[in-house]
């Protein structure tokens, strides 16, 4: 049974137009694939960039707090060494590791947060079954429609896509 239709476009503009029409017609289970970022299409699909930044900032702060806490606890409580009467809790000496570990966690948080939000790594996906899909990473644009109920069947999808002149429409699944 066909579960997805995958329409291929030559440029970003018709793909975005078809996506907009699909949204207007009430299609909800949609995705678009492009060889480079198309912010307009991402906005239509409701993807937000900001969670990545918040995850990175939260990870960075957590990393910095952990680094500072570790240094403080080990130097003051677990292993206090008196070096010429210098204070055990030495803020200036703890700062380099604190900042740099915070940065490390923020960078790792950005990458891992992006992957988690994108549900990656996922080495297999139904769209990879389409014979032309390898060009999504090169120079073609794809709109994928998940067939969902009687109003959103293959015939409706073809009616929707026809005015935007896709190069091809592939049926996936089953």
């Amino acid at each position: 049974m066909t579960t997805h239709l995958l329409a291929e476009f030559e440029a970003a503009e018709p793909m975005v137009a078809a996506l907009r029409a699909a949204r207007a017609a009430g299609w909800r289970k949609l995705d678009a694939h492009a060889p480079f970022p198309v912010p307009e299409a991402a906005k239509l699909l409701g993807a937000h960039e900001s969670p990545v930044g918040w995850i990175a900032i939260a990870a960075g702060l957590a990393g910095a707090a952990l680094a500072y806490g570790t240094q403080w606890w080990l130097s003051v409580h677990a292993w206090p060494i008196n070096v010429g009467g210098r204070p055990l809790h030495a803020l200036p000496a703890f700062l380099p590791a604190t900042t740099i570990v915070g940065i490390l966690w923020a960078a790792a948080g950005a990458l891992l947060g992006m992957l988690a939000l994108n549900r990656l790594p996922r080495l297999h996906h139904p769209v990879f079954a389409a014979s032309q899909f390898h060009r999504a990473s090169e120079d073609r644009f794809f709109l994928s429609l998940e067939l969902d109920g009687p109003d959103f069947d293959a015939a409706a999808a073809h009616r929707l896509l026809a005015p935007h002149r896709p190069l091809s429409v592939a049926a996936l699944g089953g």
Partner: protein, 437 residues
């Protein structure tokens, strides 16, 4: 719309044969890397007595080369970061291999601090782990700063390079599969993490890429600054200076930019990617190198002039560095780092690889001389009279340096062989925008 085809870039790593020149380069750099292995084993076996270091010159080649490689890595990353954050047209061409050069340079740099510990096999003592001895690292020691600084620098530089690479690895996967090379496609596919170019993924990817780039920025300043702070926290008059971190960061720039410039010129010719790295890219890169060299000129002049306002000990130490036994290194650095790159302002010079490559590499060598002058020359006038001989690197130290140069070259050659050297998705993006009416 065929305007944004990046096939020449993606096809380069899929070529079966890279020609005898490439093979010869790989063999030469692999031989040097073997030499590195030999030098490391010799050091572990015999100890630091193999080196020319002695009181007061306790930091010799290990610190000189470490600071030098970090400088190259920093300038290369800085360049890539600025391009990513400014969304500049040039980034598509050079940011990918600037990132690769930074990664290779960081790897070369990270070897030295471990080797200079004296007992390198105990380096893990700087890691705070619950040891059976119940001892913990001394967090007020600069050695521990080094551990965190270098480890984070390596990881963040890698993350920056890899984050930008994910979509291009997906292109490589699809191109390799289209050519029927399924084994290769599986390897690329594994590292591409199943990237399928969903526009929602792209939006988050771009946010993450810019975020990681923004994180590299403070890392660059802090990595060089931490090294410089370790010098500055000593009581050696020529090192105990507030300006030292700025000076080390600023003089690091021409070396990395010079190396990126030389690499850009070589890649353009070697892989026939003139369309992706065009004259405008070379112009901007060369002008940046020349401008960074001017900034270095300012830093040099400031150090010399302000020294006359300092107390006697600092003034004498500066004079000893600039006019003493290592004066040749100091002025050689000034010539190669500050003066020679000014030729790049001339269009006829910067556009020709046969001038641009030597000038870029000479800037890197000049910064190496500067590091030598700082590490060895800075110790000429200490608080105590010096009785021992001057510092001169021994053969095992030269072997180590040659070895890390080989490792750097080998890593870059491997990148060129297996990974697209130009950021393909950026190129497609820009060319599609240029195509739009």
């Amino acid at each position: 719309m065929s305007g944004f085809s990046t096939r020449p870039v993606s096809d380069a790593p899929l070529r079966r044969d890279f020609g005898w020149r490439f093979t010869a380069a790989v063999l030469a750099s692999a031989a040097l890397t073997l030499l590195l292995a030999y030098a490391v084993v010799a050091l572990l076996w015999r100890g630091t007595a193999l080196w020319g270091t002695n009181i007061p010159f306790v930091w010799g080649f290990d610190l000189i080369n470490y600071v030098w490689w970090i400088g190259i890595a920093n300038a290369a990353s800085l360049f890539a970061v600025v391009l990513v954050l400014r969304r500049h047209g040039l980034r598509s061409a050079v940011n990918r291999f600037a990132e690769a050069a930074a990664l290779a340079a960081v790897a070369a740099a990270a070897i030295y601090p471990i080797l200079h510990l004296g007992r390198p096999w105990l380096f893990y003592w700087t890691v705070p782990y619950p040891a059976a001895t119940q001892l913990w690292p001394q967090f007020r020691s600069t050695l521990v700063w080094d551990f965190w600084g270098i480890m984070s620098h390596v990881v963040v530089t890698f993350l920056f390079w890899y984050t930008g690479l994910i979509p291009d690895l997906a292109t490589m996967r699809d191109r390799a599969a289209a050519r029927g090379r399924l084994g290769l496609a599986r390897i690329y596919g594994f590292f591409a993490l199943g990237w399928r170019g969903s526009v929602q993924h792209w939006a988050r990817h771009q946010a993450a890429y810019r975020m990681v780039a923004a994180m590299v920025l403070p890392m660059l300043v802090s990595a060089q600054t931490i090294v410089a702070l370790e010098f500055a926290t000593t009581l050696v008059p020529e090192w105990h200076q507030a300006r030292l971190p700025l000076q080390v960061v600023a003089t690091g720039l021409p070396s990395g930019l010079g190396v990126v410039l030389a690499l850009a010129a070589l890649l353009r010719g070697g892989l026939g990617l003139g369309r992706y790295i065009d004259d405008a890219d070379m112009d901007l890169l060369a002008k940046l190198t020349a401008a960074a060299a001017l900034a270095c000129g300012y830093v040099y002049a400031e150090a010399l002039l302000v020294a006359w306002l300092e107390d006697q000990a600092t003034r004498q130490a500066m004079a000893a560095r600039a006019f003493g036994a290592y004066a040749g290194l100091y002025w050689g650095a000034a010539l190669l780092v500050v003066v020679l790159p000014q030729l790049l302002w001339l269009k006829g010079v910067r556009r020709r690889a046969r001038y641009a490559v030597p000038i870029g590499l000479a800037a890197a060598i000049g910064v190496w001389l500067d590091r030598f002058s700082l590490v060895a020359g800075g110790l000429l006038r200490d608080h105590l009279p010096r009785t021992g001989p001057l510092y001169a690197p021994s053969l095992p130290e030269w072997t180590l340096l040659a070895g890390t140069v080989g490792l750097f070259a080998l890593m870059l050659l491997v990148f060129t062989r297996f990974v697209p050297v130009v950021s393909m998705f950026e190129t497609r993006h820009e060319e599609s925008e240029a195509d739009a009416p």
